[in-house]
Symmetry: D2
Subunit: 142 residues, 4 copies
């Protein structure tokens, strides 16, 4: 299914990449992309990376689990604008007992627009941090 593969991006040796378009909704009156929108692009990249590893939010939610961001540090290097085509890069930076560290960046052609370090955790019923299930650890270790 090459079309679906395109929609969810593709796995790379170091992680995942996802092409995204800049639409009206992403911009602000300064003419550039609104800074918080990059977090949406990063989240889409993480979701599709996990999706291609066989981990789905809907399935997790059915068991009372959901991923949550615990820490995020992001540098805004260059702006993007309406109609731009950007690529979200995601790579594994470390997997602990209950946390996943990822390095993420958004590029336009050969220029990095933002660079981020993101720590996510899996929250279980009641919102408590849960130990990563073996299935998820195995999928991420692959």
């Amino acid at each position: 299914m090459p079309e679906q593969h395109g929609l969810s991006g593709r796995l790379t040796p170091s992680g995942h990449e996802l092409r995204q378009r800049i639409y009206f909704e992403d911009t602000d009156f300064s003419g550039r992309v609104y800074h918080a929108r990059y977090l949406h692009f990063l989240e889409r990249g993480r979701s599709d990376f996990l999706r291609l590893l066989g981990i789905g939010h809907a399935e997790l939610a059915g068991s009372g689990f959901a991923f949550a961001v615990r820490r995020l540090a992001i540098d805004f290097l260059k702006p993007a604008a309406i109609d731009d085509l950007v690529v979200v890069h995601t790579r594994k930076a470390g997997i602990g007992g209950a946390r996943i560290n990822l390095g993420q960046s958004v590029w336009k052609d050969d220029v990095p627009l933002v660079s981020a370090e993101v720590t996510i955790a899996l929250l279980g019923p009641g919102g408590r941090v849960a130990r990563l299930p073996d299935a998820i650890r195995r999928a991420l270790a692959s």
Copy 2:
């Protein structure tokens, strides 16, 4: 608590009004407010109208209920821009067994920016439309 009253707007003889600020997030590269953002302002107006009538989303959600928009028709008349102060007007237009019709508009000074007719329904467990509980009907009839 005059401060809290201000934050949730105020009841008027015909419904409710809520003052809101236009922030970066509301604008797009055209320099105007992004059209879909007005639906956020309208939703805030409805939520605070219901709140001042004693109806809270958190309490409803605790019983498995949530309001959902069923139909919305909106005219975009004049643009708003960054830093503008706007007022969201909400008035009851009709209450059926399972639906609430509202007339809503957003104004800047004496100029209407958008005008909308909105139909909302209460969804129960499983997402099915639920008959409006008497407590909600009474609150809205007041």
Copy 3:
């Protein structure tokens, strides 16, 4: 460039269709897609329809022009949820001197989720409604 074609959807005999994923950002605490988010999906559909017809927002903005929504009526029929794959359909419903009427809908498999009628206009410098340039009229008539 089949990949890029996929990202911007594809032209159909009656208009355009665009596949989109439901991400975290699109949902709300009710577990369903937040109603205003459908307007984003519709806007992406319109932008990519125009893009494949050769009309770009960036080029228009360079001349001081931008499309704006004037009227929108939308029915919310069925909910979508996280991870869902939806298709945005856009078809021309009428082109006037200064306005474009479109019929749009969002589908999940064979089920329509929302159905909308949208009127857009081209705004020129100063925010005034502009007559549609011949190039745009010709592209839409094709």
Copy 4:
């Protein structure tokens, strides 16, 4: 104008605080506030802090200037949910020739929900970083 003062929050000895409501739009299917939404709350806090110091985005934009976020590090400590009332705290952490460092946090009652360090810069025509005008430096030093 106590009402308007409330809408834009208030200056404190160390900076600024702004009360905000959690609405539908701020939540996601996990039942909590979507992580990127906190950046909106932080941006509203910064905008209203600057506003009460006499610095307006609209005026800046009229001269071709706009503030932009250059770096942001944020810890997500506790979740907020629909209907919650939160307070955005902003305090000056350092003012350089072209950059403003701010410490920001969002609280619910006595509990910190997020804690962030934010660096913003003023961008001039062409998107180049501009030296902070004396009027802005004086306002921030006050």
